[in-house]
Protein backbone atom coordinates (compact mmCIF):
# COMPACT_ATOMS: atom_id res chain seq x y z
CA UNK A 1 0.00 0.00 0.00
CA UNK A 2 1.83 3.10 -1.17
CA UNK A 3 1.85 6.03 1.19
CA UNK A 4 -0.06 8.84 -0.52
CA UNK A 5 1.59 11.63 1.37
CA UNK A 6 0.82 14.33 -1.21
CA UNK A 7 -2.96 14.08 -0.97
CA UNK A 8 -3.56 15.85 2.32
CA UNK A 9 -2.77 19.59 2.31
CA UNK A 10 -1.59 19.73 5.91
CA UNK A 11 0.70 16.78 5.55
CA UNK A 12 2.09 17.99 2.23
CA UNK A 13 2.86 21.34 3.82
CA UNK A 14 4.55 19.69 6.79
CA UNK A 15 6.69 17.51 4.53
CA UNK A 16 7.60 20.52 2.42
CA UNK A 17 8.76 22.25 5.59
CA UNK A 18 10.94 19.27 6.43
CA UNK A 19 12.44 19.19 2.96
CA UNK A 20 13.24 22.90 3.12
CA UNK A 21 14.80 22.64 6.59
CA UNK A 22 16.94 19.70 5.54
CA UNK A 23 17.97 21.89 2.63
CA UNK A 24 19.60 21.42 -0.72
CA UNK A 25 22.43 18.97 -0.84
CA UNK A 26 25.48 21.26 -1.04
CA UNK A 27 27.57 20.89 -4.17
CA UNK A 28 30.64 20.49 -1.96
CA UNK A 29 28.99 17.49 -0.29
CA UNK A 30 28.71 15.73 -3.64
CA UNK A 31 32.15 16.86 -4.83
CA UNK A 32 33.83 15.52 -1.71
CA UNK A 33 32.23 12.18 -2.38
CA UNK A 34 33.37 12.12 -5.97
CA UNK A 35 36.93 13.02 -4.99
CA UNK A 36 37.09 10.12 -2.58
CA UNK A 37 37.92 7.78 -5.43
CA UNK A 38 41.42 8.94 -6.36
CA UNK A 39 42.37 9.17 -2.69
CA UNK A 40 41.86 5.47 -2.38
CA UNK A 41 42.79 4.59 -5.90
CA UNK A 42 43.54 0.93 -5.40
CA UNK A 43 47.15 0.34 -6.22
CA UNK A 44 48.24 3.95 -6.67
CA UNK A 45 50.99 4.98 -4.31
CA UNK A 46 50.81 8.40 -2.73
CA UNK A 47 53.44 10.83 -3.93
CA UNK A 48 54.14 13.40 -1.24
CA UNK A 49 55.47 16.90 -1.65
CA UNK A 50 59.21 16.85 -1.03
CA UNK A 51 60.16 20.25 -2.40
CA UNK A 52 58.35 23.53 -2.96
CA UNK A 53 60.28 26.54 -4.16
CA UNK A 54 57.72 28.79 -2.50
CA UNK A 55 58.57 27.57 0.98
CA UNK A 56 61.85 25.66 0.77
CA UNK A 57 64.94 27.75 0.49
CA UNK A 58 67.71 26.48 -1.73
CA UNK A 59 70.56 28.84 -0.92
CA UNK A 60 73.09 26.75 -2.81
CA UNK A 61 71.20 27.14 -6.05
CA UNK A 62 69.59 30.51 -5.73
CA UNK A 63 72.51 32.47 -7.05
CA UNK A 64 73.39 30.11 -9.83
CA UNK A 65 70.11 29.75 -11.68
CA UNK A 66 69.11 31.81 -14.63
CA UNK A 67 66.71 34.49 -13.45
CA UNK A 68 63.67 33.33 -15.40
CA UNK A 69 64.06 29.74 -14.19
CA UNK A 70 64.60 30.79 -10.61
CA UNK A 71 61.40 32.76 -10.61
CA UNK A 72 59.23 29.80 -11.60
CA UNK A 73 57.36 28.05 -8.84
CA UNK A 74 58.68 24.51 -8.70
CA UNK A 75 57.37 21.52 -6.82
CA UNK A 76 58.54 17.94 -6.51
CA UNK A 77 56.36 15.01 -5.50
CA UNK A 78 57.93 11.68 -4.67
CA UNK A 79 56.51 8.18 -4.17
CA UNK A 80 59.05 6.42 -2.01
CA UNK A 81 58.18 2.78 -2.74
CA UNK A 82 58.19 3.03 -6.52
CA UNK A 83 60.76 5.83 -6.53
CA UNK A 84 58.83 7.86 -9.09
CA UNK A 85 59.26 11.60 -8.91
CA UNK A 86 56.98 14.17 -10.47
CA UNK A 87 58.46 17.60 -10.96
CA UNK A 88 56.19 20.52 -11.70
CA UNK A 89 57.16 23.97 -12.88
CA UNK A 90 54.52 26.67 -13.12
CA UNK A 91 54.92 28.96 -16.10
CA UNK A 92 52.70 31.89 -17.01
CA UNK A 93 50.00 29.80 -18.63
CA UNK A 94 50.78 26.17 -17.95
CA UNK A 95 52.12 23.60 -15.54
CA UNK A 96 55.08 21.81 -17.09
CA UNK A 97 55.69 18.37 -15.66
CA UNK A 98 58.54 15.91 -15.74
CA UNK A 99 58.66 12.30 -14.52
CA UNK A 100 61.84 10.87 -13.06
CA UNK A 101 63.06 8.39 -14.12
CA UNK A 102 62.02 9.40 -17.62
CA UNK A 103 59.18 7.27 -18.95
CA UNK A 104 55.97 7.57 -20.94
CA UNK A 105 52.43 7.23 -19.62
CA UNK A 106 49.38 9.28 -18.80
CA UNK A 107 48.65 11.90 -16.19
CA UNK A 108 45.13 12.58 -15.01
CA UNK A 109 44.37 15.98 -13.51
CA UNK A 110 41.68 15.89 -10.81
CA UNK A 111 40.68 19.44 -9.91
CA UNK A 112 38.73 19.98 -6.71
CA UNK A 113 36.04 21.53 -8.85
CA UNK A 114 35.34 20.61 -12.42
CA UNK A 115 36.04 17.61 -14.61
CA UNK A 116 39.16 15.52 -14.67
CA UNK A 117 41.33 15.64 -17.77
CA UNK A 118 43.99 13.29 -19.08
CA UNK A 119 47.37 14.29 -20.51
CA UNK A 120 49.85 12.12 -22.34
CA UNK A 121 53.35 11.85 -20.96
CA UNK A 122 55.95 11.64 -23.72
CA UNK A 123 58.83 9.19 -23.89
CA UNK A 124 61.09 11.71 -22.20
CA UNK A 125 58.70 11.85 -19.25
CA UNK A 126 57.43 15.33 -20.08
CA UNK A 127 53.86 16.60 -19.98
CA UNK A 128 52.04 19.94 -20.01
CA UNK A 129 48.85 20.95 -18.22
CA UNK A 130 47.30 23.97 -19.86
CA UNK A 131 45.62 26.10 -18.65
CA UNK A 132 46.77 26.11 -15.05
CA UNK A 133 43.98 24.58 -12.92
CA UNK A 134 42.20 27.31 -11.00
CA UNK A 135 41.43 25.07 -8.01
CA UNK A 136 43.69 22.71 -6.07
CA UNK A 137 44.19 19.44 -7.93
CA UNK A 138 45.73 16.02 -7.67
CA UNK A 139 47.66 14.26 -10.38
CA UNK A 140 47.34 10.54 -10.84
CA UNK A 141 50.00 9.14 -13.03
CA UNK A 142 50.28 5.77 -14.74
CA UNK A 143 53.42 4.93 -16.61
CA UNK A 144 53.87 2.40 -19.38
CA UNK A 145 56.12 0.47 -17.02
CA UNK A 146 53.13 -0.10 -14.77
CA UNK A 147 53.88 2.39 -12.02
CA UNK A 148 50.82 4.15 -10.61
CA UNK A 149 51.04 7.08 -8.21
CA UNK A 150 48.80 9.90 -7.09
CA UNK A 151 50.03 13.19 -5.67
CA UNK A 152 48.81 14.97 -2.63
CA UNK A 153 46.74 18.06 -3.32
CA UNK A 154 48.65 20.55 -5.40
CA UNK A 155 47.87 24.13 -4.48
CA UNK A 156 49.31 26.75 -6.78
CA UNK A 157 47.72 29.83 -5.29
CA UNK A 158 50.34 32.33 -4.21
CA UNK A 159 51.43 31.42 -0.71
CA UNK A 160 50.00 34.03 1.60
Amino acid sequence: MPDRWWVDDDRLLRLLGEALRIGEVPASFVETGKLTLPWQDLDAELAALTYDSATDSTPALAGTRADDLARLRQLTYRATRTGLEIELAVTEDAVVGQLWPRQAGTVEVHPRRGDSTTQLVNQAGGFVIRPIPSTPFRLSCRTTTGVSVITDWVTLADPG
Partner: protein, 210 residues
Protein backbone atom coordinates in the same frame (compact mmCIF):
# COMPACT_ATOMS: atom_id res chain seq x y z
CA UNK B 1 16.91 -0.52 -17.19
CA UNK B 2 15.36 -1.27 -13.85
CA UNK B 3 16.56 0.90 -11.05
CA UNK B 4 18.15 -1.82 -8.95
CA UNK B 5 19.88 -3.27 -12.00
CA UNK B 6 21.28 0.14 -12.80
CA UNK B 7 22.64 0.50 -9.28
CA UNK B 8 24.09 -3.02 -9.45
CA UNK B 9 25.89 -2.16 -12.69
CA UNK B 10 27.23 1.07 -11.19
CA UNK B 11 28.49 -0.78 -8.14
CA UNK B 12 30.35 -3.33 -10.26
CA UNK B 13 31.94 -0.69 -12.45
CA UNK B 14 32.85 1.57 -9.54
CA UNK B 15 34.44 -1.35 -7.69
CA UNK B 16 36.64 -1.84 -10.75
CA UNK B 17 37.78 1.77 -10.45
CA UNK B 18 35.45 3.33 -13.03
CA UNK B 19 35.31 7.03 -12.17
CA UNK B 20 32.09 7.80 -13.97
CA UNK B 21 30.28 4.97 -12.23
CA UNK B 22 31.59 6.07 -8.84
CA UNK B 23 30.53 9.65 -9.44
CA UNK B 24 27.10 8.49 -10.56
CA UNK B 25 26.73 6.46 -7.35
CA UNK B 26 27.72 9.46 -5.25
CA UNK B 27 25.29 11.75 -7.06
CA UNK B 28 22.53 9.25 -6.71
CA UNK B 29 22.92 8.59 -3.00
CA UNK B 30 24.12 12.00 -1.79
CA UNK B 31 20.54 13.15 -1.04
CA UNK B 32 20.00 10.03 1.08
CA UNK B 33 23.18 10.51 3.12
CA UNK B 34 22.50 14.24 3.48
CA UNK B 35 18.92 13.69 4.56
CA UNK B 36 19.80 11.12 7.20
CA UNK B 37 22.51 13.34 8.69
CA UNK B 38 20.27 16.39 8.80
CA UNK B 39 17.38 14.43 10.31
CA UNK B 40 19.68 13.22 13.03
CA UNK B 41 20.25 16.87 13.88
CA UNK B 42 23.67 17.46 12.36
CA UNK B 43 24.48 21.01 11.33
CA UNK B 44 25.54 21.45 7.76
CA UNK B 45 29.30 21.43 8.40
CA UNK B 46 28.97 18.30 10.56
CA UNK B 47 26.86 16.61 7.93
CA UNK B 48 29.65 17.24 5.44
CA UNK B 49 32.20 15.67 7.79
CA UNK B 50 30.03 12.62 8.35
CA UNK B 51 29.36 12.35 4.62
CA UNK B 52 33.06 12.29 3.85
CA UNK B 53 33.47 9.29 6.15
CA UNK B 54 30.51 7.55 4.55
CA UNK B 55 32.05 7.84 1.07
CA UNK B 56 35.35 6.49 2.34
CA UNK B 57 33.60 3.52 3.94
CA UNK B 58 31.62 2.95 0.76
CA UNK B 59 34.74 2.88 -1.34
CA UNK B 60 36.32 0.35 1.02
CA UNK B 61 33.14 -1.67 1.02
CA UNK B 62 32.36 -1.70 -2.70
CA UNK B 63 34.46 -4.68 -3.67
CA UNK B 64 32.93 -6.92 -1.04
CA UNK B 65 29.38 -5.82 -1.71
CA UNK B 66 28.14 -9.11 -3.16
CA UNK B 67 24.52 -8.09 -3.33
CA UNK B 68 24.33 -4.58 -4.81
CA UNK B 69 20.63 -4.47 -3.94
CA UNK B 70 21.77 -4.28 -0.33
CA UNK B 71 23.61 -1.02 -0.98
CA UNK B 72 20.88 1.39 0.17
CA UNK B 73 20.42 -0.49 3.42
CA UNK B 74 24.15 -0.55 4.01
CA UNK B 75 24.33 3.18 3.31
CA UNK B 76 21.52 3.95 5.74
CA UNK B 77 23.22 2.00 8.53
CA UNK B 78 26.68 3.37 7.82
CA UNK B 79 25.48 6.96 7.56
CA UNK B 80 23.68 6.72 10.89
CA UNK B 81 26.78 5.32 12.52
CA UNK B 82 29.03 8.06 11.13
CA UNK B 83 26.55 10.77 12.11
CA UNK B 84 26.32 9.45 15.64
CA UNK B 85 30.11 9.41 15.80
CA UNK B 86 30.19 13.09 14.84
CA UNK B 87 27.46 13.88 17.37
CA UNK B 88 29.29 12.03 20.13
CA UNK B 89 32.42 14.00 19.30
CA UNK B 90 30.40 17.17 19.67
CA UNK B 91 29.02 16.16 23.01
CA UNK B 92 32.42 15.23 24.32
CA UNK B 93 33.53 18.74 23.56
CA UNK B 94 30.79 19.69 26.01
CA UNK B 95 30.15 22.66 23.81
CA UNK B 96 27.00 23.93 25.42
CA UNK B 97 26.54 26.68 22.90
CA UNK B 98 26.30 24.09 20.19
CA UNK B 99 23.88 21.96 22.13
CA UNK B 100 21.79 25.00 22.87
CA UNK B 101 20.89 25.39 19.25
CA UNK B 102 23.82 26.28 17.06
CA UNK B 103 22.87 23.00 15.42
CA UNK B 104 20.62 24.54 12.84
CA UNK B 105 18.06 21.76 12.85
CA UNK B 106 16.72 21.52 16.36
CA UNK B 107 13.34 20.41 15.16
CA UNK B 108 11.70 17.10 15.88
CA UNK B 109 10.35 15.52 12.74
CA UNK B 110 6.84 14.17 12.62
CA UNK B 111 7.63 11.18 10.55
CA UNK B 112 9.82 8.69 12.32
CA UNK B 113 12.11 6.90 9.95
CA UNK B 114 13.10 3.53 11.29
CA UNK B 115 13.20 1.04 8.45
CA UNK B 116 15.63 0.99 5.55
CA UNK B 117 13.06 1.92 2.90
CA UNK B 118 11.73 4.95 4.72
CA UNK B 119 14.90 7.04 4.58
CA UNK B 120 15.22 6.21 0.89
CA UNK B 121 11.67 7.26 0.16
CA UNK B 122 12.06 10.33 2.35
CA UNK B 123 15.21 11.47 0.55
CA UNK B 124 13.54 10.95 -2.81
CA UNK B 125 10.51 12.88 -1.63
CA UNK B 126 12.60 15.73 -0.24
CA UNK B 127 14.49 16.20 -3.49
CA UNK B 128 11.22 16.23 -5.43
CA UNK B 129 9.61 18.67 -3.00
CA UNK B 130 12.53 21.08 -3.14
CA UNK B 131 12.64 20.87 -6.94
CA UNK B 132 8.91 21.43 -7.17
CA UNK B 133 9.13 24.30 -4.69
CA UNK B 134 11.79 26.03 -6.79
CA UNK B 135 9.50 25.89 -9.79
CA UNK B 136 6.67 27.73 -8.02
CA UNK B 137 5.79 31.36 -8.60
CA UNK B 138 7.60 33.71 -6.16
CA UNK B 139 4.29 34.54 -4.43
CA UNK B 140 3.71 30.87 -3.67
CA UNK B 141 7.27 30.33 -2.53
CA UNK B 142 7.03 33.27 -0.11
CA UNK B 143 3.72 32.13 1.30
CA UNK B 144 4.68 28.47 1.69
CA UNK B 145 7.98 29.45 3.23
CA UNK B 146 6.17 31.44 5.90
CA UNK B 147 3.57 28.72 6.41
CA UNK B 148 6.26 26.08 6.96
CA UNK B 149 8.40 28.29 9.12
CA UNK B 150 9.47 26.92 12.44
CA UNK B 151 8.44 28.33 14.85
CA UNK B 152 5.11 29.05 13.13
CA UNK B 153 4.31 32.53 11.86
CA UNK B 154 0.85 33.87 12.66
CA UNK B 155 -1.57 34.57 9.82
CA UNK B 156 -1.72 38.22 10.91
CA UNK B 157 2.02 38.57 10.41
CA UNK B 158 1.94 36.69 7.11
CA UNK B 159 -0.80 39.04 5.97
CA UNK B 160 1.30 42.06 6.87
CA UNK B 161 4.51 40.77 5.38
CA UNK B 162 3.01 39.68 2.08
CA UNK B 163 0.39 42.40 1.83
CA UNK B 164 -2.51 39.98 1.36
CA UNK B 165 -5.76 39.72 3.30
CA UNK B 166 -5.90 37.17 6.11
CA UNK B 167 -8.97 35.70 4.49
CA UNK B 168 -7.17 34.92 1.27
CA UNK B 169 -4.24 33.10 2.88
CA UNK B 170 -6.20 29.84 3.13
CA UNK B 171 -7.36 29.72 -0.50
CA UNK B 172 -3.95 30.84 -1.78
CA UNK B 173 -2.32 28.15 0.30
CA UNK B 174 -4.56 25.58 -1.37
CA UNK B 175 -3.76 26.86 -4.86
CA UNK B 176 -0.04 26.92 -4.17
CA UNK B 177 -0.08 23.37 -2.83
CA UNK B 178 -1.96 22.27 -5.94
CA UNK B 179 0.68 23.95 -8.06
CA UNK B 180 3.29 22.10 -6.04
CA UNK B 181 1.57 18.76 -6.68
CA UNK B 182 1.26 19.30 -10.39
CA UNK B 183 4.85 20.36 -10.95
CA UNK B 184 6.78 17.81 -13.03
CA UNK B 185 9.22 17.18 -10.18
CA UNK B 186 6.46 15.87 -7.92
CA UNK B 187 4.39 14.34 -10.68
CA UNK B 188 7.19 11.85 -11.28
CA UNK B 189 6.70 10.51 -7.76
CA UNK B 190 2.94 10.50 -7.70
CA UNK B 191 1.49 7.25 -8.92
CA UNK B 192 -1.23 7.09 -11.57
CA UNK B 193 -4.03 5.85 -9.32
CA UNK B 194 -3.54 8.82 -7.05
CA UNK B 195 -5.80 11.07 -9.04
CA UNK B 196 -9.37 11.88 -8.02
CA UNK B 197 -9.12 10.05 -4.69
CA UNK B 198 -10.17 13.22 -2.91
CA UNK B 199 -12.57 15.71 -4.38
CA UNK B 200 -10.83 18.86 -3.27
CA UNK B 201 -9.83 21.40 -5.84
CA UNK B 202 -9.88 18.62 -8.39
CA UNK B 203 -8.22 18.41 -11.71
CA UNK B 204 -4.92 19.73 -10.50
CA UNK B 205 -3.50 16.33 -9.66
CA UNK B 206 -1.12 15.06 -12.28
CA UNK B 207 -1.54 11.61 -13.69
CA UNK B 208 1.94 10.50 -14.44
CA UNK B 209 3.20 6.98 -14.16
CA UNK B 210 6.75 5.89 -13.91
Amino acid sequence: MRDDLLVAALVRRAAAGDRQAWEALVERFAPLVWSICRRLGLARADAEDAGQQVWLRLLEHLAELREPAALPGWLVTTTRRECLRVLRGRRQQADLAYMAGAGDLDVAFDEELTSVEEPLLAAEREVALRDAFRQLRPECRQLLELLTHDPPVRYREISERLGIAIGSIGPTRGRCLDALRSSPALAALIDPGADNAEGGEGGARPVVGR
